[in-house]
Structures are given as C-alpha cells and as structure tokens.
C-alpha cells in the first residue's frame, strides 16, 4: 500500500521538533501542519512576509491583506510578525528556517532537485522555491516515488531543469523515506505494506539498502 497524501504529511510531521520555524510549500507540505505531534510548538513561515501563520479564517475574519504564499486567506498565530519580502528571504536565504518541506518533480543522488519547469509545458515560474532550496539547511522533499506510468522520480541525474543543485538530503515519497549522502540514495524506512523490492525497482538512482529496513510508524 502506498502512502496517501495525508500519511505522507503525517510522516513528515514526525521530523518536526518543538520550537521549529518551518516553511511548508504548496500541496502535501501544507497538510503537514495538520499532523504536528502533540505538545510541540511550531511557527510556520510564509515567504510572502509572515512568521506565525495561523488557520484559515472564518467568514467574519477573512482579510484580503492577510494571505499565505499560496495566496490563500489565513490568520495569524500567537506571537506572529509581518515583514517585507526582502526580510522574509533574508530569513530563508540566511538559513534561519529550521525545516523546509516542498514538493518536486525529480530528485537525484547528488541532491539536485527539479520542481518548477517542464520544457515544452507552460512555465509559470519558480516563485520562492529556488531561494528556499538554496537557503535551507534542512529540507524534506515530498513527492510520489514514481510517475503514474511507473517512471522513477529518484534519479541518477535530474532530467528537468534544476531548481537547486546539491541541496536536498531527505525525500519522503509514498513508498519510502530516503536520505541522500555522498552521491547515493539511502533507504531509511519503507511504507507499511511496501516491499524493499518495490522501492528498489522504482528508484533509478543508486540506492543503498541496509540489511534491515524499518517500517514507518504512524
């Protein structure tokens, strides 16, 4: 059984520690906020200029001047602050965000990531993704392990134009939790009901498989 989007978010959430400042990208990363471990405090950074993002507003509290990086209306959490875009990316580029979670099309054994552009298709832009991957010390990429047609997204070399070079160390897919070290993928955990063989088959880049691969816990 491959992980659902919610399970992927749930597994990523386990990596978050008390007192972390976290930037969550659009898509699965956004769902991570719903699965934070009990008893820990986290502040969400939104790169359009907000530290301490809260829940979505009610009809009564919706405010056009208060949105997140996905352009959705939001609210603020206790202790939040607003700032301009230069300051926001100073935080990101300067490595002050403890964890960044974002999606991707492809990742390779050298930690390269491709996530913003498919040649021939409409190019909408990289937004803040290039800044996030270049600045964060700690990034988790969330994506499906392979395309619908069974093509691996964990490659020896990214085939698409890069969003960042040599910056990804952790990937959470619907099949596995993988670390990238010294030019290789390392299998850290497999999803419940997914065999190591299936993971190996769908991983194009060199994958180091330890003798015993733990199953993800939820």
């Amino acid at each position: 059984m491959t992980l659902s989007r919610e399970q992927m978010a749930q597994r990523v959430a386990q990596e978050i520690q008390d007192g972390f400042y976290v930037n969550l990208g659009i898509g699965i990363p956004t769902l991570v906020a719903n699965y934070l471990p009990a008893g820990i405090e986290v502040m969400l950074q939104s790169e359009n200029g907000l530290l301490g993002m809260g829940q979505f507003p009610t009809e009564e509290t919706v405010d056009a001047d208060l949105i997140n990086a996905g352009k959705q209306t939001v609210t603020v959490a206790k202790g939040a602050s607003f700032f301009d875009s230069a300051e926001s990316f100073a935080m990101i580029r300067g490595g002050h965000v403890d964890l960044t979670v974002l999606g991707a099309f492809e990742v390779d054994v050298n930690g390269n990531i491709a996530s913003y552009m498919i040649p021939g298709k409409l190019i909408k832009g990289m937004g803040g993704a290039m800044d996030l991957v270049a600045g964060a010390e700690n990034i988790i990429v969330t994506m499906t392990h392979a395309s619908k047609h069974g093509q691996s997204k964990l490659l020896a070399n990214c085939s698409l134009p890069l969003t960042g070079k040599g910056c990804i160390k952790k990937v959470l897919t619907d099949l596995a939790f993988i670390e990238i070290k010294a030019g290789k993928f390392h299998l850290i955990e497999h999803a419940p009901g997914v065999t190591v063989e299936e993971i190996v088959k769908l991983t194009e880049g060199e994958l180091v498989v330890p003798a015993k691969v733990p199953e993800m816990k939820f």
């Binding site: 907000l50 056009a64 875009s85 580029r93 990289m126 290039m130």
Partner: protein, 234 residues
C-alpha cells in the same frame, strides 16, 4: 507642493511623467497589496513598451493583467506568472518578454537598487537555468551567482497609511514587495487608504521613511481575494 507635502489630488497627477518604454517597479504579491488604482491609471493612459518588475502579473481582468489586452507591457521581470490566460498567450507567442527571477532574488534586487548596491552574490539559482550567463563564484566552500540591482523610472506602491511627508505604514502581508519597490523608483508614487497629518505617526513605527516617496494619493480599493479559503465551520 511646498516643503515635504507630497499629497497629490488626482491619479493623473500621481502618474504624471510616465512615458512609453519606461521601467516600472510594482509592489504586491498576487493581488495582495497591489497599487490597483495606479495600475488602472497606467491602463487609462495607454502607455506602451513598459518593462514591469513585479512578483506576479495580476489576473486576467485585475491588477497588472489590465495592461495586457492593449499590449502595454513589453517585458516583465517576475517570479511567478501563473493565473492569466492572456499573459500565457502573449508569452507563448513571443509578444511578451518574460524574465523569471526567484522571488527572494527579486526582492533583494529591488532592495539593492534602492540601497546603492549594484550587485550581490546569492546561492539562489546556482546550477539552474537562472544562472545562465551569470558569474559564478565559490565563497567559503559554497557556490554563488552574481545578481544585479534593479531600478525603475517609476515605482508604484500600495501602503495602508501615510502622513503628508510620505512616511508609510503597511498592513499585514500587504507589505510584501512594497517597501523595496518604494526605494527603487526614480519617482515613487504611493496610494494609501488613509492620509494623516505629519507628526501623527509614531517615528518608531514607520516602515518606509518619506525620503523614498515622491507622491502620495488617497485611494479606495477593491482588494480582490485570489484564493478565498475559509475554515470549515465546526
């Protein structure tokens, strides 16, 4: 206009001096904190051949998207240009020149333009298409590319409050690119929701000092919401 009183009374006056082929730096993120009436004034003037520097390009019938139907924009420097069918058409047909720039680099380029920093190194974009044609350098074991400052003939800015001297306060995430844009225009025009007398704003709480601002105009705003997202009621 005597002394530091920068208030003008019409949008026509606010954008006086705008000419074809100028560069305009605009504040705003998505449709949040955009100088919507200044954009409408540019549409009305029909100015052509513009280079626009803005994180996004509005939507089909609002924000900077209003400058597309009459092909007023020659080039746009932006980080994300999604939600706009006419934009896509002009981009695909080559009528519109699009220079995609990472969001943080774009903010820093505007800041640098205002701050007299002609160029800076950043890791953002190293090893990506953004690095093409740019100088690369290893500093302290990490790779960087050189990015240059951006300045505009005009900067168009939306703030919440201003005093008559042009001191500005922004509100919530409508701040975004506006403070940097304000510093980077030869002529910086700001539209606001409220104008107070000079001396009424706390000097410790001013986001943009009036020295960067040339003209202030009082506006009313639609503030369209792009992704209205409401909590499920309990």
């Amino acid at each position: 206009m005597a002394g530091f009183d920068k208030v003008v009374s019409s949008y026509e006056e606010a954008m006086a001096g705008l000419e074809d082929n100028m560069t305009i730096i605009a504040g705003g993120f998505g449709l949040c904190g955009i100088p919507e009436n200044l954009i409408s004034e540019i549409e009305k003037r029909g100015t052509k051949g513009l280079t626009i520097v803005s994180n996004n390009c509005g939507v089909d019938n609002f924000g900077l998207g209003l400058l597309l139907p009459n092909r007023q924009i020659k080039k746009i420097i932006a980080s994300y240009v999604g939600e706009n069918a006419e934009f896509e058409r002009q981009m695909m047909s080559g009528e519109l020149d699009v220079e995609l720039t990472p969001q943080g680099t774009l903010a820093e380029k505007m800041r640098a333009g205002g701050a007299g920093i002609p160029a800076f190194f950043t890791a953002t974009g190293y090893g990506t298409p953004v690095a093409e044609g740019k100088e690369e350098r290893e500093i302290g074991g990490k790779h960087y590319i050189l990015e240059h400052a951006i300045k505009g003939d005009f900067a168009i800015v939306k703030a919440w409050k201003a005093d008559r001297y042009g001191n500005l306060i922004f509100r919530k995430t409508a701040r975004n690119f506006n403070p940097m844009a304000a510093t980077a225009g030869k002529i910086t025009v700001v539209e606001v929701e409220e104008i107070v007398e000079s001396g009424e704003l706390d000097p410790d709480q001013i986001h943009t000092p009036g020295i960067y601002v040339n003209r202030i105009i009082l506006g009313t705003f639609e503030k369209r919401i792009e992704q209205r997202t409401i909590q499920a009621t309990q």
